[in-house]
Amino acid sequence: MKARHLIWIRRISQGVFLALFLFLLIQTRFPSTAYQDYSLTMTTEQDIRVAYPVSFFFQLDPLIWLTSLLSGHVWMKGFLWAVGVLLLTLLLGRFFCGFVCPLGTIHHMVSVIRPTLKGKALIEANQKMRSERIKYFLLIAVLVSALFGLNAAGILDPMSLLFRSLTLAVFPGVGNAIKAACDVIAASDIKPFNLLGYAAEEIASPLFGYGYPAYQTGWLIGGFFLTILFLNRIRFRFWCRTLCPLGALFGVVSRFSLLKLEKNEGKCTDCQKCTLACQGAASPGPAVDWDSSECLLCFNCFNQCPEDAITFRFRWFPAQNRGPDMGRRAVLGGLAAGVSIPLFGRLDGQVYRVSDPRLIRPPGSAEEKDFLRLCQRCGLCMKVCPTNVIHPALAEGGMAGFWTPRLIMTLGYCEYTCTLCGSVCPTGAIAGITGKEKVERPIRIGSAYLDRGRCLPWSGNGPCIVCEEHCPTSPKAIYLRPDTQTRLDGTRVTVQLPYVDLGRCVGCGICENKCPVKGKPAIRVMAAGETRSVKNQILLDI
């Protein structure tokens, strides 16, 4: 095969996988074409599910498979894909980085389109560097940490990172801007403008979400994403070379890869064109050994070499590649970090003592200890939630729970029969429950409590039954008792005072969400009473 063809195959593959990633990301939502056939289902409710296998890229990812196995001791759904990717890596090397990884593709594009580095500076930047060891440090740290019960891989895993960044920062950021523009145009009194605004919104909303999506710490996630994109100005594919723990894992496995770069040093004129084009600083040039662990398999060197001095060939055992350059410090440091992270992560008492009342996990979530073993912080549950109630935690879950999902009832609420979040969770940190189970067991995510000083009828500020009206359980967990109150002007009014029956409350939070007292509502939900925890209970009988 000609090198030029190989380059184009790589580019097409990169484009296809990036497009597929974006497509599945957009499809991670309540399906807009869903409907129930009422002639068949007058009496039963089917669980509506996302129409596409949206966790596919997470199943492809061996780092997610390994960490959930090491830490959660579960074989995640579809892990054979990840096994397949690892086997292919044994054969081909880091093909995933060069041909598949959507984050790698984005870095590749940012690096190559209008590059900041040229000529000598570029050759300089494409030399092998010690900083490349950082990724091995990070890989060892997340693997060891997973072994000791805290799965932190998702913070840096490229699939989780990209999904989280796009879905919680980039898309909502762009979407909010479009929506704001549509609102302005739609408010116009001039009819054609008006219609244009509606039409634009009709097109944009399915992509970016209806309304103004918001995510706690979205700015931080976006800032982190922009930073790693910016790093491509320092070195091409800085992330892939220096930081990516999945790349490091592939690097370790690539040591044994059968596809090898062969240099014909006799033909080489030392023109450096290969080094100029190298995406991975894998030493394609003369005089040094090729680094299989750093090679992203972009085939640029193969394509660029004017003398045909570079070829890729399959070579069977016992021909070995140069081992990954980890460095003793990276290994020892990684081990030390991996042991300390889980230990330090539990010092705040969240796991062993009492958890933050604001740490309300999605329905079906595993018990906190197991949750932290499995959650990849990828943001699938946050994206799919139709009410935008699930947010990445900042400090509510302690250090260990950073960016794990948490419900904020003032921004959304958990729909009584909806179980979409669990149905898309790639590792089972949120179990895939049915709507029937959720209602009949019931699966509680917390409990509501009243703040009588804020409540309109309790504080003598007039009638209101909004929380009771919205309470979805049957019979309602919020009930009313009539009371006669004397107002400031002496008039007597009859109001109905709300009470919460903890035995019925499931913590869905629609009361908090719809309460007319905004910001800090008069009825709020705390995590106590959540089904997933034996400790975090209020009532004797549950």
């Binding site: 309540f30 869903a34 509506i48 609102d183 605004g197 009206e469 359980t473």
Partner: protein, 313 residues
């Protein structure tokens, strides 16, 4: 050179222009589409009650018969009309739980409107639960799909401030498609409610507005009447095939539902509600908004003053 305007003149002209533009905008403001949508309740007040008494009767046929008895949909909808239907599909519940308008009735009404020559039929409700889930679970999405009606997604750009001129509500954001139509059909389901006692036709208009709806409860009855006055539908058809008799308005259990197999169609919003109250054995005089509505001239609660028909299937 003499023709060139000075800086001062330029600023002056600019101010005049922007001032008159602002005035024009202010003057042009909220009276869109209010003109025709509200057929006045003048001549021929009527009420038709449909009852399905044979087991296994067709809800759709009953709906058709009820309209037939009222003179046919053609008496209300003209060729080329844009018809908007306001169901109550606010809760993401299956039809069996009677929290939302029966999709069979909805489907039949849409078909009747199309058969009468309607150019477009829209279904519009500003839902409480997530709109897409409401559409999917209540059957409204399927009714729209089957019939070709347009299901309007309630979104903030479609809520525009309009002048209510009510006793309590002055300017309030209104769900635009409900006023930008030639004919409006109110299609609620009958349910109990913790504050307003019953939610029937007039209360259904709470779902026609946006904004701080959860503050309306502080003067529920007057705000219901203000809204009913503002929207004033061509027809009210109360779906009482299944009614919610407990745990309203959200329900959630089959035991909250009673099967009454009734439809109530009227061009008098007060009379329709009064008739439906009978199904719950509630005295209309004890329901604040019904009393207020009559007092403020929205309709007449005395059912002997109108032509009442009964259709049995």
């Amino acid at each position: 050179m003499d023709d060139a305007i000075t800086r001062r003149e330029a600023i002056k002209t600019g101010l005049y222009l922007s001032g008159s533009l602002a005035l024009a905008c202010a003057a042009g403001w909220p009276d869109h589409g209010l003109s025709e949508a509200h057929a006045e309740v003048k001549k021929g007040r009527f009420l038709v009650e449909g009852a399905g008494e044979t087991p296994g009767y067709s809800v759709q046929t009953l709906t058709e018969k009820v309209f037939e008895a009222a003179g046919g949909m053609g008496a209300f909808v003209s060729r080329g009309d844009v018809v908007v239907i306001k169901p109550n599909i606010s809760w993401a519940r299956t039809p069996s739980l009677a929290a939302s308008t029966n999709p069979e009735v909805l489907e039949a009404v849409i078909r009747l409107a199309f058969n009468a020559g309607a150019k477009k039929v829209r279904i519009a409700d500003n839902t409480i639960h997530n709109a897409e889930r409401c559409f999917a679970l209540t059957g409204a999405a399927m009714a729209a799909q089957k019939t070709g009606a347009e299901l309007v997604h309630p979104r903030s750009s479609m809520m525009q401030d309009m002048k209510m001129q009510g006793h309590r509500l002055d300017v309030w954001p209104v769900f635009v498609p409900l006023v930008e139509a030639d004919k409006v059909i109110n299609l609620p389901i009958a349910k109990v409610h913790g504050l307003s006692v019953l939610t029937l036709g007039m209360k259904n208009w709470i779902g026609g507005v946006g904004g701080r709806r959860n503050a309306l409860h502080q003067d529920m009855h007057q705000t219901i009447v203000d809204l009913a006055h503002f929207f004033k539908p061509t027809l009210t058809l109360i779906d009482a095939i299944r009614i919610m008799v407990a745990n309203g308005p959200s329900g959630g259990n089959e035991s909250d539902v009673a099967v009454t197999n009734r439809l109530i169609l009227s061009n008098d919003p007060v009379a329709a509600d009064v008739k439906a109250a009978g199904l719950f054995h509630v005295a209309p005089a004890s329901v604040g908004y019904m009393v207020l509505a009559e007092k403020q001239g929205l309709g007449i609660s005395d059912l002997t003053t109108l032509t009442e028909k009964r259709v049995v299937l």
